[in-house]
C-alpha cells in the first residue's frame, strides 16, 4: 500500500508545438501514515506533482500507482479520487454549493454513503476546521480564509487514505494555520493517513517525516527536516529561506556563542540558550 511514481514525468503542451516539462522523470513513494512536506520556488512543479498524485493529471511518461492501481487506467479514475483527496491552492476552484454544509457534504454524498453517516462526517469536518457556526451560510459571503477552511473540511469529510494539500493554509491566520496542522498530525496518527503537504511557509515543515525539495520539475533533495532545513547551500539554490530559529542560531554561532547550527525550532533555540545560562 502506497502511492508510487516510477519515472513519471509530465509536460504541458502549448500552442505552436511548444512543450513545457513541468515534471522531470521522477521516482517516489508515499507511505500511509507519512507526512511528506514539499517545498520549492514558484514554478518548480509542486502543484503539477500534486495533481499527478491523485490522477487529476496523467503522467506523459512513466506511471503513477495508487495502492497498486495505475492512474492511466480509465477504470481506476473513481478509485484514485476517493483514495487521494486533493485540497487545491485556491478554495474557489473547489467550492460549488451555496450553503457551507452542502458543500462539505458534496464529496461524501458522491461516495453513496448513508445519510446519517454523511451528517456525522460533515459535522465532524466542520468542527475540525472551526466552521460549525457558519454551516448555514453561503460560502461566497465568507472571507477567503474561511473559504479555505471549508475546502479543507470538504476533503476531510471524504476520509481519503491519502491527503495531498497544496498550500492549504496560505490565507489563514496563525491560530487557524496551527489548528489545520494539528488536525493533520492527529489524522496521521489515528487513521494512518498519508499526507503530502505543499507550502511556502518553511516553519510548517519542521515536524514532517521528510521534506522533498523541488526545483525546475525535479526533486533535488529528499530527507528529514533537520538535514534539509539546515543545508544552507541547498536551501539557497532552491530559493528557499532558513527558518528564523536556524537563522538566529547561525548568527549567534558566528559571534562565538556555542549554539548548535542544526537548530530548526523555537523550542530548540530556547533550550540551547537555556543550557548555556
Amino acid at each position: 500500500m502506497s502511492i508510487n511514481l516510477s519515472a513519471a514525468s509530465f509536460s504541458y503542451l502549448l500552442p505552436k508545438g511548444r512543450v513545457i516539462k513541468a515534471i522531470q522523470p521522477t521516482t517516489l513513494s508515499i507511505q500511509p501514515g507519512e507526512f511528506v512536506a514539499v517545498i520549492g520556488a514558484n514554478g518548480s512543479g509542486k502543484s503539477t506533482l500534486a495533481k499527478l498524485l491523485n490522477g487529476l493529471l496523467l503522467p506523459t511518461n512513466g506511471e503513477v500507482l495508487i495502492d497498486g492501481h495505475n492512474t492511466k487506467d480509465a477504470d481506476n479514475k473513481v478509485f484514485a479520487r476517493r483514495r487521494v483527496g486533493l485540497v487545491f491552492q485556491n478554495p474557489d476552484n473547489q467550492l460549488t454549493a451555496t450553503i457551507v454544509e452542502d458543500d462539505v457534504a458534496f464529496g461524501p454524498e458522491n461516495l453513496g454513503l448513508p445519510p446519517e453517516e454523511i451528517r456525522a462526517r460533515v459535522d465532524r469536518a466542520l468542527k475540525t476546521v472551526g466552521m460549525t457556526e457558519h454551516k448555514d451560510e453561503d460560502p461566497h459571503n465568507l472571507s477567503a480564509g474561511q473559504r479555505q477552511k471549508i475546502a479543507v473540511a470538504g476533503i476531510l469529510a471524504m476520509e481519503p487514505k491519502y491527503l495531498v494539500m497544496d498550500e492549504p493554509t496560505s490565507m489563514l491566520d496563525p491560530v487557524g494555520r496551527r489548528a489545520i496542522l494539528e488536525t493533520l498530525s492527529e489524522l496521521r496518527q489515528k487513521s494512518s493517513i498519508g499526507i503530502v503537504y505543499i507550502t511556502h511557509i518553511i516553519e510548517e515543515t519542521v515536524e514532517a517525516d521528510r521534506i522533498l525539495v523541488m526545483t525546475e520539475g525535479k526533486i533535488i533533495a529528499n530527507g528529514p527536516p533537520r538535514e534539509i532545513l539546515t543545508d544552507e547551500s541547498l536551501m539557497e539554490s532552491a530559493s528557499l529561506y532558513m527558518t528564523r530559529p536556524t537563522d538566529l542560531a547561525r548568527r549567534l554561532a558566528k559571534q562565538g556563542i556555542p549554539v548548535s547550527k542544526d537548530i530548526i525550532t523555537v523550542e530548540e533555540v530556547v533550550k540551547e540558550l537555556c543550557s548555556l545560562k
Partner: protein
C-alpha cells in the same frame, strides 16, 4: 489628512435575513507617507475595511473623507477616488484579462481618457516600480508569466493611476520567498517615495519587518491602533483573537522567562541577536 473614516459600519446583505455585519463603528485616519499594517484573524473584516477605505464599498453608516471631502456625499468625486487610492485585491492576477501586459496596465488610464503618450510614460514607471522592465514585458501575454510576475503586473495596473494611498490585500500569499521579499521591498520603496501603504496581512513577521503602524481588527471592530512594538507586546490578546507575535518576540520572551536579561519586545531576528549578544556575560563559554 489623506483619508479619514468616521464611525463607519458595513453590513453585507443589509436589511435581509442573512444580514452580516462585517465592520462596525470603525474610525481611522491615514496620513501622507504612512506604512500601516491592517491585521486581524480570518474573517475579521480586514478586506471589507480595505474596500471601504478604497472607496469601493459604500459604508452602511459613517463617513469616508478624502482630503477633506466626503466621497459619498459628492458623486463627482469618483475620479478623485481613483487617483487618491488604489486597491490591489487578494490574488489580483485573477483580474488580468487583456492580451498583453501593456494593454492590461493601460486599462484604467484609458478609461480616464489619458493620451497614449501619457499612458506609456506612466506604464513604464509603474512597471519599473514593481521591478519589471517595460520593453521586456510589454508585449507578453499576462498568462505566460510566473505567479510572482503576474502579481507584479496586477499591482502595476493600480500604480499606473499614481495613487497617494496604495492598499494591498495579502499581497504575498502564494508567492515564494524570493517573490515575497522582492515584492515587499518594492512596496517599501514606493512608501519611501511618499506613497502611503495600507498592507493587509496575517504574517506577523512581515508586519514586524515593514510596518510603522499596526491597526488590529477583530469581529469588525478596530481594537488597537499603535506601533508594531506596542501591538506585539500583548501576546495573550493576540493569541485570543487568533494571531501571534513574531518569532523573534516569542524567543525573546521565553529567554526572559528563563532569566536572560533581554530588553522586552525584540521584533526582528537582528534585534534579538543584538539583545542576546548584550547578555554575553551571562552565557557560559
Amino acid at each position: 489628512m489623506l483619508i479619514e473614516i468616521e464611525d463607519v459600519s458595513y453590513t453585507y446583505l443589509a436589511g435581509s435575513e442573512a444580514a452580516n455585519s462585517a465592520v462596525s463603528n470603525a474610525s481611522l485616519t491615514i496620513d501622507r507617507g504612512e506604512f500601516i499594517a491592517l491585521i486581524g484573524p480570518t474573517g475579521s473584516g480586514k478586506s471589507t475595511l480595505a474596500q471601504v477605505l478604497a472607496g469601493l464599498l459604500k459604508p452602511s453608516f459613517g463617513k469616508v473623507i478624502y482630503e477633506g471631502s466626503d466621497i459619498w456625499e459628492e458623486p463627482k468625486l469618483l475620479a478623485k477616488r481613483r487617483s487618491l487610492t488604489g486597491l490591489v485585491f487578494q490574488e489580483p492576477e485573477k483580474q488580468l484579462f487583456e492580451m498583453t501586459v501593456e494593454e492590461d496596465i493601460a486599462f484604467w488610464p484609458k478609461n480616464l481618457g489619458l493620451g497614449p503618450k501619457e499612458i506609456t510614460t506612466r506604464a513604464m514607471s509603474a512597471l519599473s516600480a514593481v521591478g519589471l522592465d517595460y520593453e521586456q514585458y510589454k508585449d507578453r501575454s499576462p498568462f505566460t508569466l510566473s505567479g510572482g510576475e503576474m502579481r507584479r503586473v496586477a499591482i502595476a495596473g493600480i500604480l499606473v493611476m499614481n495613487p497617494k494611498v496604495l492598499i494591498v490585500d495579502e499581497p504575498t500569499v502564494g508567492l515564494d520567498h524570493r517573490g515575497r521579499t522582492g515584492l515587499m521591498d518594492k512596496i517599501q520603496k514606493l512608501n519611501q517615495g511618499g506613497t502611503a501603504i495600507v498592507f493587509v496581512s496575517h504574517d506577523m513577521d512581515t508586519v514586524a519587518e515593514y510596518a510603522q503602524r499596526v491597526v488590529l481588527i477583530n469581529e469588525g471592530s478596530i481594537i488597537q491602533d499603535s506601533s508594531p512594538r506596542e501591538v506585539f507586546r500583548n501576546k495573550e490578546m493576540l493569541n485570543k483573537v487568533g494571531l501571534d507575535v513574531p518569532v523573534a518576540t516569542e524567543i525573546g520572551a521565553r529567554l526572559r522567562e528563563v532569566g536572560y536579561h533581554i530588553a522586552p519586545g525584540p521584533i526582528s531576528v537582528s534585534e534579538l541577536e543584538t539583545g542576546i549578544l548584550a547578555t554575553r556575560g551571562e552565557i557560559k563559554r
